[in-house]
């Protein structure tokens, strides 16, 4: 125990507009399965990339086997014996299993691959992983996801590996396959290899974990906890908040049901994501959807918005049924979405704030398609000023803004268009602490002006503090609905992960 295999201290990594890692500490012992827990955006992926040598940390110390190291490239990480199995498997579909396993360190002489030797070595590795049925000559693209994962693992083992990082390896697997994965992990750790296992499934952590480290907002909130730490405590660490926030006052009248129903969702179903989801949102009401990653929360928002087409069920706005799977129709009916991945799903990063704000309402500033750019700029600038964006320069490229101000730009887009229903997916993700309270106030203000707000959050206190009504999701189903003010955080946590406790 005296000398851990890997020790990270105070690792930070900032990207333009967001701080992905803000002080991560992590210690991994040889032969242990160290579980890394955290919500989407907690910094898990960035941390993995730092370990894999794909990202360079801005500050912090990395100690490997007792010696300080830097990992300037993936090759360097591999040389030290760190292998990473990404969630999006990084295999070459068109190459054979054996070629994939030895990609980058081919068994070759004078540039000619030694095919027989390669195939034999691959076969041996696959057998040790309990999958002798995967032929080394098979094209990887024709394998099932579970088999591809085994190939990925064989590739990791083909190096002299001492630490294997696995990013949500069970996400693509069936139960039997997971059992086999666990068996393989057990055999690996018995030989002294350490595994850094990333998952948000409590049951798995219970089954194979040695210790647990919890990340939140790019920081280690608890490191090296025993794996039998009560689930409620772990989830509270993941979703809880150290700081108390000022949530805006709820509508003084409190008579929400008296107002008009704006959004009605009936029996929305998408097998594998969500099942028979029905709810309503009234004008002036804020409804929060709370659930763990994978509970179907974002998928529901996307289906309501028409960004995906659900298998069945309907969405009605002001009593009129929206055609499924058509964003343009939803937008025309007055629905707006602030997606979870702002940069890739909402913003035109190189463009100015004005252009980002006006893009959904261009028609209003145009006559026969001819843009009145002065009117456009004035109207967008008004919104920008109303939202107190900083810096208050609407001509600035949106990529130079902080996360909170980028989110404001997205909200300004829908404010300018004037919407009836606003869908917010993790509205405070990547938004620094100071700007959150402002966003909360803004959302409440919008609701008070008559907008029906539906938002998704993985942070329970955020839902309880901001929403009028909360819908609790578990595995794609709404398991509880209640006035947010009447709910207790611990109760919600119990509901969210009932299955995991069994």
């Amino acid at each position: 125990m005296s000398s851990p295999l890997l020790r990270m201290r105070g690792i930070t990594k900032a990207f333009p507009g967001a701080k992905a890692l803000d002080g991560v500490d992590l210690e991994v012992e040889p032969g242990e399965v160290h579980c890394l827990l955290g919500q989407n955006g907690a910094g898990k992926s960035t941390l993995i990339k730092v370990l894999a040598g794909a990202h360079q940390p801005d500050s912090g110390d990395l100690t490997w086997d007792g010696e300080p190291v830097v990992l300037p490239s993936p090759t360097a990480a591999m040389r030290h014996g760190i292998s990473t199995i990404y969630q999006e498997l990084d295999l070459v579909d068109g190459l054979s299993v054996a070629d994939n396993i030895f990609l980058g360190h081919e068994r070759a002489r004078f540039g000619l691959t030694r095919r027989g030797e390669t195939a034999a070595a691959a076969r041996e590795l696959l057998r040790s992983l309990g999958h002798p049925e995967i032929a080394p000559g098979t094209e990887v693209g024709s394998l099932s996801p579970a088999q591809q994962q085994i190939v990925s693992m064989a590739r990791a083992l083909s190096h002299d590996t001492r630490l294997i990082v696995m990013d949500e390896p069970s996400a693509v697997l069936t139960q039997d396959e997971v059992a086999n994965l666990f068996r393989v992990i057990g055999e690996l750790t018995a030989t002294g290899v350490a595994v850094l296992y990333i998952s948000h499934r409590m049951a798995e952590i219970r089954a194979i974990g040695t210790r647990v480290t919890v990340l939140k907002d790019g920081r280690t909130v608890a490191g090296g906890l025993p794996a039998d730490t009560p689930t409620a405590q772990l989830v509270a660490l993941m979703t809880g908040r150290e700081t108390a926030y000022d949530f805006p006052q709820r509508g003084a009248a409190g008579g929400v049901p008296e107002r008009d129903e704006v959004l009605r969702v009936e029996h929305l179903t998408q097998p594998g994501s969500f099942e028979d989801v029905s709810f309503t949102v009234h004008a002036g009401e804020i409804v929060g959807l709370v659930g763990l990653v994978g509970s179907g929360r974002s998928e529901i928002l996307h289906a309501v918005y028409g960004a995906t087409r659900p298998a069945s069920g309907s969405v009605l706005v002001d009593g009129r049924r929206l055609p499924p799977g058509r964003v343009t129709a939803a937008v025309r009916a007055g629905v707006g979405l602030a997606p979870e991945e702002r940069k890739s799903q909402a913003l035109f990063l190189q463009d100015s704030v004005v252009r980002n704000v006006s893009i959904s309402s261009l028609g209003r500033f145009a006559r026969f398609g001819w843009l009145d750019r002065r009117r456009e700029a004035t109207a967008a600038a008004e919104r920008v000023a109303a939202l107190d964006m900083r810096p208050a320069d609407p001509q600035r490229p949106v990529r130079t803004l902080s996360g909170g101000n980028q989110q404001k730009a997205v909200l300004a887009r829908w404010l300018l268009r004037g919407c009836r229903v606003l869908l917010l997916d993790e509205p405070t993700r990547g938004v620094d602490v100071g700007a959150r309270a402002e966003l909360y106030a803004l959302v409440r203000e919008l609701a008070d002006s008559g907008v029906a707000v539906l938002f998704v959050s993985s942070e329970v206190p955020e839902v309880l503090g901001l929403a009028d009504r909360a819908l609790v999701l578990r595995e794609g189903r709404i398991v509880h609905e209640a006035e947010a003010a009447s709910l207790k955080e611990s109760h919600v946590l119990d509901l969210v992960m009932e299955e995991s406790r069994a």
Partner: protein, 363 residues
């Protein structure tokens, strides 16, 4: 020398806060200030330039400089270069490819590519010069050329936007098959145009300048307005810059994509009329390699091949750079092989310049 520079610092002092207010890149500003410890020399001149021309327009400015340099080279190497006759020549030979490049610029900014432009020109040219079409006179011929161009463009657009076939593949296939249709229609014979009014499109002049040049100028201006002053243009940038964000912002991305290829087809139809009139006959080998010429012009004009950013003005400058080079080579009786090498080098240099420009702006 020093006398001239003395008033400069005074001019510069108020200049700095003005620049700070203008919202120029925060990251580059301090380094710019440090770079020029001696105010009044290139450093501050560059700042003033930056204020006048935002960074993304600097590229076009660079092309103007290249064009001027080419003009100098042309004037030095040949007495015939700087004559009004020759300038008109350059503009006339730029006219057809210029019109095609307008459409290509839209397509590329919108995140696509159109490899079939040359083939569309051929099929439109052949179709509008068949004996049957010519019997309808000028109106029938113009109508046919534009409709055939639009139809092929629309077909491209439908296959790419709704059939979800990659643009490169779709237009590559169209390039082959449209050319084939042209050959079949014409039986590989050139079809002489007997309608005089049609041929006059290429020969008529107004104020000493051929009609073709006015046509190109008109289409460039219309294209510029469409790209920079209308909702269509704004959405083109959005669709090319971030298609997913555009879709989630409520833009009908597929319909827009389809319209971009239709637009390119219309430009090809017009270009076919111009080219056919110049050669006074329709033929299936017209417009050969125009796809590469137009893409090259768009790229050296500063438009990102990935889409989302670009300038029509730059594209047209690109066309002029290439036609001027050709002109200089012809005037000096130089062989075309060296000319091709020069073209290739210019494309490489332009793209390298683009990359340093991209690296300078953070993230």
């Amino acid at each position: 020398m020093s006398d001239q520079t003395t008033p400069r610092p005074a001019e510069d002092a108020p200049g700095l806060p003005a620049q700070a207010r203008s919202g120029a890149d925060v990251a580059t500003r301090p380094s710019l200030v440090k770079e020029g410890p001696d105010p009044g020399r290139p450093g501050s001149g560059r700042q003033q330039l930056l204020r006048l021309f935002p960074l993304h327009q600097m590229h076009s400015l660079g092309l103007v400089v290249v064009l001027v340099l080419l003009g100098v080279v042309g004037t030095v190497t040949s007495d015939n270069f700087l004559t009004s006759n020759n300038i008109v020549n350059i503009l006339t030979s730029a006219a057809v490819i210029g019109v095609i490049t307008v459409g290509q610029t839209f397509v590329i900014i919108g995140g696509g590519i159109d490899l079939s432009v040359g083939a569309i020109v051929a099929v439109a040219s052949v179709w509008c010069t068949t004996v049957a079409t010519q019997s309808y006179g000028l109106g029938g011929m113009l109508f046919t050329a534009v409709v055939v161009g639009s139809a092929v463009g629309l077909l491209n657009g439908i296959l790419i936007a709704y059939g979800r076939i990659v643009a490169f593949i779709t237009t590559l296939a169209m390039m082959a098959s449209a050319r084939g249709v042209a050959e079949r229609l014409s039986d590989r014979q050139s079809q002489v145009v007997t309608v005089d009014s049609f041929n006059r499109i290429a020969t008529d002049k107004f104020l000493g300048i051929p009609l073709l040049v006015y046509l190109m100028a008109g289409i460039v201006v219309l294209g510029w307005l469409l790209l920079n002053r209308t909702t269509f243009g704004r959405r083109t940038f959005a669709v090319g810059g971030n298609p997913e964000a555009a879709r989630l912002a409520g833009i009908a991305v597929r319909r827009h994509t389809m319209l971009l290829y239709l637009l390119s087809g219309v430009c090809c139809g017009v270009a076919a009329v111009m080219l056919t009139a110049r050669t006074t006959s329709g033929a299936s080998n017209l417009g050969n390699l125009y796809e590469l010429d137009s893409i090259a012009a768009v790229i050296i004009g500063g438009t990102l091949l990935a889409g989302g950013r670009g300038s029509l003005f730059g594209s047209i400058l690109g066309v002029l750079v290439f036609t001027t080079i050709t002109n200089i080579f012809v005037l000096n009786n130089l062989t075309t092989d060296i000319q091709e090498i020069a073209k290739g080098l210019i494309i490489l240099v332009a793209v390298l310049l683009q990359r340093t420009r991209g690296a300078r702006s953070p993230a």
